[in-house]
């Protein structure tokens, strides 16, 4: 790959030098995957931009119609007023709009919401995002830890009654989608058994509380998050358990586990450093990748529990055809997935020395 470096320096032209720089960037693993990530996001966003404009129904026309019928002004005046309130150049062609939007995006400007003019898309995201990250993230971590600890005994006692019971639960947990779990939780313990008042748990915290580091607010936030988190845990847990079981089963057959036992290592050492660590390796990659899906996996669950997170926001944006908000949220979801994959790529080497990437080939 580095054959061009063997050329004599004296004969380097400008294009050679540019090629040099470009190939150095490309040969640097981190830079390369980062570049690919950026290109992926750009492609998805361009696709989204086009898709939004191909969708039937247009919020501008809808508003113009409303103004025309309500106030009886001329079409041009109604058009200008709507265009002004949306802060867009109405004469621009789609291509011009695209470059305008791309330029704004490069400055990290996501524009303003269409349905609530004046509200910046980024501010809305900042308002809803933390709740989703908190609820789904907690659910994901709890299920991951539980799954690892439940999956190992399933492998150690393969074929036992314990294994059968846990395997049945895992398949059930994986097979039933999270929104069904959410509905079940509301209907059975919530409505039929009246264990909790489902109506009081709407939103992300009790009305009238000031967000901040006070006990009352934190307790309320935890209370409101409890059901969605529980739903996520139940719905994801089975996947981790089954992955850990199969991964552990594979590792238990490895020579090095057998040798470790023959070496007279303490059982605890063998289970944690030899079996557990190697079995959990592929699950960490799975975990880092699923972090990307954290934001999108709770859309319906947040609607069911009326938990005001980013999924709820996305749902609302689609319902009212708020295209800028929609684009902003889609960008966020895309970036989350792409960068969590990137993160998984770059961190796997920290866990597994065999794939540690050295700078040079």
């Amino acid at each position: 790959m580095a054959h061009h470096q063997q050329q004599s320096r004296a004969h380097l032209t400008l294009s050679d030098r540019l090629y040099d720089i470009a190939s150095n960037v490309y040969n640097n693993y981190t830079a390369r995957v980062f570049l690919i990530a950026i290109i992926t996001i750009w492609a998805v966003m361009t696709f989204t931009f086009a898709l939004v404009r191909l969708m039937p129904g247009n919020p501008l026309d809808v508003l113009i119609e409303q103004i025309l019928t309500a106030e009886g002004v001329s079409y041009q005046e109604a058009y200008d007023r709507v265009a002004a309130s949306f802060n867009i150049d109405s004469d621009a062609t789609t291509l011009d709009q695209y470059f305008q939007w791309l330029g704004d995006l490069l400055r990290l400007d996501l524009g303003t919401s269409i349905t609530s003019p004046g509200t910046k898309v980024i501010d809305e995201i900042a308002r809803f995002l933390p709740w989703t990250v908190f609820a789904v993230g907690t659910g994901l971590l709890i299920s991951f830890v539980l799954g690892i600890f439940a999956g190992m005994p399933m492998a150690y006692y393969r074929g036992s009654k314990l294994d059968h019971i846990l395997s049945f639960f895992s398949s059930f947990s994986t097979g039933v989608p999270n929104y069904i779990w959410g509905l079940l939780i509301i209907i059975v313990p919530g409505i039929a058994w009246r264990w909790f008042d489902i109506g009081a748990l709407r939103g992300t915290y009790d009305a009238g509380l000031t967000p901040g580091l006070n006990a009352e607010f934190i307790l309320s936030a935890l209370e409101h998050a409890a059901l969605p988190v529980f739903t996520y845990v139940i719905a994801i847990l089975g996947t981790w358990m089954l992955s850990m079981k199969s991964s552990t089963t594979g590792v238990l057959n490895e020579d090095y586990v057998n040798v470790a036992e023959a070496r007279g290592l303490k059982e605890r050492t063998v289970i944690s450093s030899y079996v557990g660590r190697n079995a959990a390796l592929p699950l960490f990659t799975q975990l880092t990748i699923s972090i990307g899906f954290v934001l999108s996996s709770g859309v319906v669950v947040e609607e069911i529990f009326v938990y005001w997170g980013i999924g709820h926001h996305l749902f609302q944006s689609i319902t009212v055809r708020d295209y800028t908000s929609l684009q902003g949220v889609v960008l966020l979801l895309t970036a989350a997935i792409v960068f969590s994959n990137l993160f998984a790529d770059l961190t796997y080497g920290l866990l597994d020395p065999r794939v540690r990437v050295s700078g040079e080939k």
């Binding site: 020579d255 090095y256 057998n258 040798v259 023959a262 070496r263 007279g264 450093s273 597994d352």
Partner: protein, 338 residues
């Protein structure tokens, strides 16, 4: 139990092992007895599936879960203390393993935990047996790695995947003697290595044994390796030791047709290729083994007696034993033949 003479480090008495399987009991080891002296190297030779590995796994009680020891005892003697491995508690067994008897498994390629450095794996082995001083562990490990002719500093701080196959095998040998065991079991120590690396491993083993004075049991179907390394050779057939004796006695005056068959199935420099023979038939089904002498269906000397009565290992001279009714006929035929 105190009847062991002082030079004996290991005595196996009447060991029988059965694998419980769905198709029936596999009698993998039948009434095996032998003794191993201090500093002695014993080779177990035989075809695949003859039960060599079962015997060696039993020596460190590392048999698969479906194995049952139906008779016998395995006595280790160290500093006049005799212990039966089959009677050890879990905790005693854990400290016995690697400290008194280490086993270098077949295929060192995957013997090391891929995510831990070699250093860590030497350390956790030593720590599990009560060593606490990291410096002392390091010193001992480096001297052993040097003994197996590796670059000690480099290997000690490597991950397993950074070492070649031969280097891993030698590292495993060094790890095997880390705790100064009395007995080291080597299961096919040179299989899967190229011929030059095999040579290096054999030299290293000879060196180590000379310096560290442990006893070796090694399992091999490589007869030239056995000839080179062993003081004593035991031939295993259908889970039984059918012949045992000094290396020269086995190679030049074998008394069991099976041993003789093994020897003549190896090409030598002196004999032309057409003299090379294989043993007809295949190893017996150990779920329903043949009656009498288990080798009789494949044996050219077999008589009615062989079908009915199982021959016992009989002392031929002081150290050489063979379980065959027709030793004399074998000897006579060989004199004619050569």
């Amino acid at each position: 139990m105190s009847a062991l003479s002082p030079e004996i480090v290991l005595r196996v008495d009447d060991l029988s092992i059965v694998y419980r399987t769905e198709r029936g009991d596999v009698r993998a080891t039948n009434h095996v007895s032998f003794e191993l002296k201090r500093g002695e190297a014993m080779a177990l030779i035989g075809e695949s599936g003859s039960g060599k590995t079962t015997i060696s796994l039993a020596l460190i009680r590392k048999l698969p879960k479906n194995a049952v020891v139906t008779s016998g005892q395995i006595l280790y003697q160290r500093e006049n203390r005799v212990q039966d491995v089959l009677g050890l508690s879990r905790r005693q067994l854990r400290s016995f393993r690697w400290n008194d008897c280490a086993m270098v498994f077949q295929g060192a390629q995957n013997a090391f935990n891929p995510v831990l450095k070699i250093r860590k794996q030497f350390e956790d082995t030593a720590r599990a047996h009560g060593w606490t001083d990291k410096g002392a562990i390091r010193k001992r490990a480096l001297s052993l790695l040097e003994l197996v002719r590796l670059d000690p500093e480099r290997v000690y701080d490597s991950f397993p995947h950074e070492l070649s196959g031969g280097m891993k095998q030698r590292t495993l040998l060094a790890l095997g003697v880390l705790l100064n065991p009395q007995v080291v079991i080597l299961d096919e120590p040179t299989t899967a290595l190229d011929i030059l690396t095999q040579r290096a491993i054999i030299d290293v083993l000879n060196d180590m044994q000379r310096q560290l004075l442990f006893s070796i049991i090694f399992i091999s179907h490589d007869l030239s390796l056995a000839a080179e390394m062993a003081d004593t050779v035991a031939t295993v057939y259908a889970g039984e030791i059918v012949e045992i004796g000094g290396v020269d006695e086995i190679f030049y005056r074998s008394l069991h047709p099976y041993t003789y068959g093994l020897l003549t199935s190896v090409p030598t420099l002196e004999h032309a290729q057409d003299v090379l023979q294989s043993i007809p038939g295949s190893p017996p089904n150990l779920i329903a083994p043949p009656s009498g002498c288990k080798f009789h269906p494949r044996c050219s000397f077999a008589s009615d007696q062989c079908q009915l009565e199982s021959p016992l290992l009989q002392l031929d001279d002081e150290t050489h034993l063979a379980a065959c009714w027709h030793k004399d006929r074998l000897l006579a035929s060989r004199k004619e033949g050569v």
